[in-house]
Structures are given as C-alpha cells and as structure tokens.
Symmetry: none
Subunit: 422 residues, 2 copies
C-alpha cells in the first residue's frame, strides 16, 4: 500500500552523460497560465531532447507578453546550449514570439517574401482568402533562419543568441511534433542518448519499504541512478545510466531481490499483464463488485482482446443484488454485514459459479465519504478471490478519498488475480 508519502518520481544522485549538452524549453501562451490548458508540449520535447543527447535543465512558461518573452529568451540563452520555444507564432495580435526574439537579438523584423508566398499559396490550396493578419507570420527577425512549416501555416525560426541555438516552433502539438522530428532532430541529434532507462513496475510494496529493501543494491551500483515513483498501489523503480551494461547489471540485481513483486516494465499496464497471462493459460475470470462499482471490469475490458478471458460480471451495489444475482445468503449479510470477509468470499464464489469462470474476484467496502462507522470506517475494503485453490478474502485499509479508495481497491483486486497465477 502506498502512503503516497513522496511526490512522484525523482532520481539520486544526478548522473549526466559525460558530455551532455544542456537544453531548456520555453512555452508561450496566456492559456497556459490561466488554468485553461496544461503544457504537454514540454513533455514531448523532453523525450526527444534526451534521445538526441541533451539534458533538459528547465522548463519555463510565460504569457503572450512581449517583454516577458524577450526576457525569457535572454535568460535561457545565457544558460543553455539549446533552447526550444513553442507557441506565439500565429497570425493574431497576441502572437509575439518573433517580435520578442527580435528584441532579444537587438534586430528589426523584416518581411520575408518567400515565407509570405508560402502562406499565400497555402491559403490558395484550401480555396480560402488570406486575411491580412496572416502577413504577421512572415515578419521575422533580421538575423536568423526561417524554417518552413510543411504541416501548417506558421513558420518556425532558428537563431543564435548567447551560448544557445534557439529554435522557435508553433504551439499546435501536431505542428510542434513535426518540427521536432523533421527539422530540429536532424540538425541537433548528437547520436548518443544522454541516458538509457528502465522502469520496473512493482505491486504490493510501499515506496519507503521498497527503497529500504534495495538500499544495498543502490549503493553497490553507483553508476546507475535509482528513482521511485508511486502511482496508486504501484511503485515504480526507475533506473537510468549512461552505460547500458551497468544498467543491465543493476536491473538484474533488483529483479533477483524483488522477484514476482515486479509485474512489468515501462509501457506495461497491470491489467494488460493479467489479461495476457489468463489467456495464455486458457483461464478466465469473473468479477463481482460492490464498492468499486464497475471499475475492476472497466479496467479489464480496457484491454483489447479481454473477451478471451472475461465473459462478464455483476455490479452488486445493493444487498438484494448480492443475494439475487450472486447467491450471497441474506443471513450472511445480516450476520456479518455487507462489508465483511464472509460476504467478499461469497461474492467471489458466487460470480465464479454464475459465470463458469476459472476465478471469481470480488470487492466490498466503504468508499465514503459517508457510510463509515467506528467498526467499519471509510477505507475498509475486503477483496475476495475464489479459484481452484479455494476462496479467501483480504482486508485493506485504504487511505484517501472515495476515488483513491476505489482505485486502490480495483488495483488490489486485479493484482490478486495476478498473484493467484503465481
């Protein structure tokens, strides 16, 4: 169970490729500072920059404000070898990035005829008239290089300032990605990624215990950075190294220590692993949910091809549904309460029988915010599992709010199937 004690992620000590250059990303737009939009361009560019051999040192976001953008260009170009800015290259009055770069470079803006011609041709090809404000996009700093845009109207731009190469790309994600992969990458790729990485995904161990359990391995592999990330019930151990062989040695040591607590690596999802394992063994699972209300089945059927191991299940929110659809004796509920080990077991066995599945899994608990009692507080959840080896329920006390209680419980239920498969 993760106490969500720590913020997600992080590595120590920092390791940098011996000759990594530094990069910074600047994103520009009022909508990125008003709560309307989150900046997702930076995340994309981070991945590319690392692959190209750059350490990303900082992200900065500023508004559509001439002096704020110009000041940011001056700051970033004094620190970084490579600066990529996204946004503010469009045709409207609040698109000020080219003007701000001109100010930072100390040069005028000039109308670039070839660019204007390309913009005009683009409008023509869509059969639309070019409104005059589109001319703005062709007014570029007198020092630097226009980077034509093959997938949109606003051109990119490249200039040198301070120690930095500066690339300006549009903020539209599709165009930004095109510029990264087709224009910037080919020019700046150093052919040696800063780091090689591996993420090991662990279920059922808290972050601080996990870190504690592998402390000696971390110490013994000083050439590998270890990081931890908590995501619901999962904890991810993240390894990064300059040297691939060093990474492989550290991974092997962690795998030997943690064994089956590791369910997968980067890109793997718990329910996908479980669905694939069930199908590979010709087994199936049925689900009876009370407090999770459909979430376990939703997650199983998120996996394309889940029909190979999942035929159906029941959301038994009310007690009468537990009795009628799952055969949980009403007396059992009256005696122990709906949130009890006994009822969790009866639900799991009931749905397994009803669906004719290899396994039945169940959840019953108090998701809150109301409904808690001193004996059965909010966060108390039983997860039942019925299979060839018998029927048992495990008791959880999940911290957090309704969403977290339901989410953790669903993860625990899916993981019970995984553990049953051995």
């Amino acid at each position: 169970m993760s106490e969500a004690i720590a913020p997600a992620g992080g590595f120590t000590p920092p390791i940098t490729g011996p000759d990594a250059l530094s990069a910074e990303i600047l994103t520009i737009g009022d909508e990125l500072l008003s709560g309307e939009s989150a900046d997702t361009n930076s995340q994309f560019l981070d991945g590319r920059l690392e692959r190209w051999g750059y350490m990303v040192r900082r992200h900065t976001t500023v508004a559509d404000d001439l002096s704020a953008i110009a000041e940011a260009f001056r700051e970033l170009s004094a620190r970084a070898d490579l600066v990529i800015s996204s946004g503010g290259l469009g045709p409207t009055e609040d698109d000020l990035t080219l003007a701000a770069l001109g100010q930072a470079l100390g040069v005028e803006l000039l109308l670039d005829e070839p660019t204007l011609e390309r913009i005009r041709a683009r409008f023509q090809s869509f059969g639309r008239p070019m409104t005059p404000n589109n001319e703005r996009q062709a007014r570029v700093p007198a020092r630097g290089e226009v980077l034509p845009n093959a997938v949109g109207t606003a051109p990119g731009f490249r200039a040198e300032l301070g120690r930095a190469q500066i690339y300006l790309v549009p903020g539209v994600p599709r165009e930004m990605r095109w510029f990264a992969d087709e224009v910037i990458g080919p020019r700046v790729d150093r052919g040696r990624p800063v780091l090689v990485r591996r993420t090991l995904k662990v279920m059922g161990v808290g972050e601080s215990k996990l870190e504690h359990d592998i402390t000696d391995i971390v110490k013994a592999h000083g050439d590998v950075r270890f990081g931890y990330r908590t995501l619901g019930l999962e904890n991810h151990v993240k390894l990064a190294a300059v040297d691939g062989a060093a990474l492989a040695r550290a991974e092997a040591a962690v795998r030997e220590r943690l064994g089956a607590q590791i369910y997968g690596v980067e890109g793997d999802v718990l329910e996908t692993s479980v669905v694939q394992a069930l199908i590979a063994r010709g087994l199936s699972v049925a689900v009876a949910e009370s407090c999770t209300g459909g979430l376990v089945q939703k997650r199983i059927t998120d996996v394309a091809g889940a029909s190979g191991c999942f035929f159906g299940g029941v959301v038994a929110y009310a007690n009468e549904v537990k009795t009628r659809a799952l055969g949980v004796p009403a007396e059992l509920i009256a005696l122990h309460g709906a949130v009890s080990e006994e009822v969790a077991c009866a639900m799991a066995a009931g749905v397994r029988a009803a669906m004719g599945a290899s396994f039945g899994v169940s959840t019953t608990g108090v998701a809150g915010p109301g409904g808690g009692t001193p004996q059965k507080p909010v966060g108390l959840v039983y997860v039942g599992l019925s299979g060839p080896a018998g029927t048992t329920a495990e008791r959880l006390m999940v911290p957090g709010d309704r969403e977290q209680i339901r989410s953790f419980s669903a993860s625990f239920a899916i993981d019970r199937i995984r553990r049953a498969l051995g």
Copy 2:
C-alpha cells in the same frame, strides 16, 4: 492565443483585472524534465490563483537538484508577490526542496519534533513501521512555518524571501490540491478574482454549431470573453469578465438560447447531475453493459450517494451472459447479432426487470481495435433505454480509438437517462 486555427479553449481579447498581484509557480522533479510526466499541478494552481486575485506570470520547472532549486527560489521571489512550489518534499534522497529553500534563505535545517511525531503517528495509524528515511521530511528550514499535512505524510512549509510569500506543497496532486484549498487559499485569498468566470456545460451540440448558435450573443456582449472547449461528447462555453454583472447578463442570454442542452456549470459532472436528478424524483436506474465493460456503472458510482438510485447491474461481455443474466433470447442474438438495436433493447429491458429499477440502460457495440466488419464496423454502438415510456435504442458511429469509443458511449448512455428525465 496560439496559431492553432481552433485550439481547444482559448480566449480573446485578453482582459486583466486592475489591481492583481503577481504569482509564479515552481514545479520540481526529474520526472517532469525527462518526458515521463507532464506538469498538471500548475494548471490547477493557475485556476486557484486567478480566483484568489493573482495574475500568474510564469511557470518554472526544475530537476531534483539542490542548487537549481535554490536558484529558482531566489529568482522567483525577486519577481513575484506569491510563489507556490510543488514537489520534492518526500522521504527519499532526491527530495531536496526543503534543503534548497534553506539554502536560498541562508538558514540551517532543524528537526521539527511535532512534525516527526505526526509522521510517526500516521504510520502507526496504518499499522506500519516508519522507516528511518521518513525523518527527512521533518527537517525544515530554521526560518518559516511548518504546514501540517492532513491527507498525507510530507508537511508543507511557508517562508518569506525577497518580496514573496513562498508556499511549499507536496507534488502528489491530491495533497497539492488539499494544501491549495485548505491551507494556502484561506491565507492568501484577496476576495477579488482577477476575472470572474462561468463555464456552461452542454451535451449534444457540436462545437461549430454551438459557436454559430450564439454568435449574436457573443457580439452583443463585448465586455465578456467567450471561449469554447470540446471534451468528449460535451462542449463547454466559457465566459470571463472583469465585471460580474456583465458576466451574469451574458450567461442569462446563453441560457435562454440553449435551454436544457446545458446540463451544468464548472465543477458539475454529467453523472452527478443525473444521479441527483434521479434521487430527487425517487427514481432508479440499472445498467447492462457490453462494449463499455463496466464504465457506465463506474461513472455512476463515482458519485457519492449513488446507492440512492443505483442498486446494481451486469457486465454482459459474452453472449451467454446476455442470455443468462439478462434474459436476452439466444435466437435474438443469432438473428440480429449482439451489436444490434434489438439486443440493446432486450438488454435494457432485461436489466431493468432484473433489478426492479425505474430505468434500464444498455450498451452494445464494436469498441475495436479488432472485431469490426463492413456491416458492423469499429465504432458502431447501440445504446438502449427502457423506462415507463417504453424501450428504444439509439445508434451511434463513434470515431477514434477503443478508449474514445467506450468513453463516448458511456457518456451517451448516461445522457440518455438525463434526457429521459426531461
């Protein structure tokens, strides 16, 4: 405004309140610079800061690096009235925010006994031993104020530096949100938002039609900014103004035009509106899901108190489950196929009868990526509704991938209940 021709969201022209103070946000974590995670905390804090009367001028993201964090604290506190940092307060070696703030303040770290005691008590309450590394979280700068964390382990912290008030909160989004609303807001809220805003949430009208339908209202209210945002099947009309009375006039005009197509305002969620409407009228709903696999019921039971109108339902993924648990005649499936108007109707009527509910709603479709045929392509979905007025199914062709097809279908199913309530 970016150069996207119609970016999601966005407003024009910019409007600023007359006497706003400035704020900056600092997010800290290697994972925010490596391509692993996008920073979403800043977006949340932007919205809060605007409401509290602050203009957010800049976002900065730095790695888990002592001197980079300390330098950022010095920079931001020289420019802004209020600085909020998130991340780097956890128990592991790479959590360096408190140490960096100490460095920026020029003071030592001291072990804060009350904080250590709270952390110890939190571990005890979950019946787990506290590993020694958790002590790190109680080592705080000698100048400033510890802000106890009621929803997690890592404490927050407040200090003064330069012209700024600095607040440090954990990076875990749930804890960050709690600190914003329960700790920071009550202390810094100036009681006069930079802008007043209103979001009107609309179901069942496309974005361009929506914009077209209210063009004259937009023109008639020049003192109000209008923006649009598409979210799945929903479209949101976003109003913002300096003057609350101007906003109210514009809202009234839009409401008169769009009527019941508006299901709620900011903070409202479709399923919450539906659950509340059902409960208010003493009605109930049962759900039978095939292609959505539990998602409809998951969303209904996301709403606290859903048990007042939802007793349960069935995930009928396989045909035999449709027949056995819902009474859909096997011949009907053989004749029309599982993805058909007839089967959707039989599922809705079947689950309504089985659960004794006022309404039954159902989904059956081809969510993909496999399983499509020329007659029944990926994206074809039938949504059934059975109620006092009879049983019908509506046919959808949903674009996009498996996730989008399932998500749109679930929204459509929940909206069918809303529409049935009139």
